[in-house]
Subunit: 123 residues, 2 copies
Amino acid sequence: MEKSYQSSPLGQEISCVIGNIKKEILLNTEALILELKKILEQEGFKILDIASHKFTPQGFTVFALLGESHATIHTYPEYSSCYFSIYSCRGPTDAEKTFEKIKNYLGSEKIIFLNKNLIPVKK
Amino acid sequence: MEKSYQSSPLGQEISCVIGNIKKEILLNTEALILELKKILEQEGFKILDIASHKFTPQGFTVFALLGESHATIHTYPEYSSCYFSIYSCRGPTDAEKTFEKIKNYLGSEKIIFLNKNLIPVKK
């Protein structure tokens, strides 16, 4: 018998570039991974896998594969900035709180949204 | 001596939901991973890590961590659709060809763009 699971038809993607971040926050990549994990868990996301990479001489990428899709950060210390994105297929405003918490951790209000509050219809 | 590396100030993110995809394409997850890897390599991206997960009873996620940022696919067989996104920090039109090749492989022109041709300025 085929199971009748159907995911939510609505999800949310937020992606942005955040500037004016203190260098010590961007360069402490271990703390950045721990903070991302903590925030995702607080928001009820199931972390299936975490992958990260430190670039030479600088820059860092972390990616979290979620039961509800994904979240990722790419840092650019040379610009005091990072890219952040989260996509959740759980519901239409599901990524908001995670974005707010990441922004608060990074300590900056200089944000260029690439995509926010657009609701993908999967059909 | 500190090295003077500076990444491109411009990048490109394309993210979309693609519908009307044949079930056999969405369900052949091994082929989907191979195709994503092949296309990324053809486009000169350096794949640092690949993570994937099959959901029960259906649905599949694959994520490629790139030297130039990331690409990801989440499938929704129950809607005959998938989410695709690529972010490249290499340049302002750098993700176009990868998107076109993925679209051709999936065999559908029913696309809802969440974000396309927006150029993040890292500064």
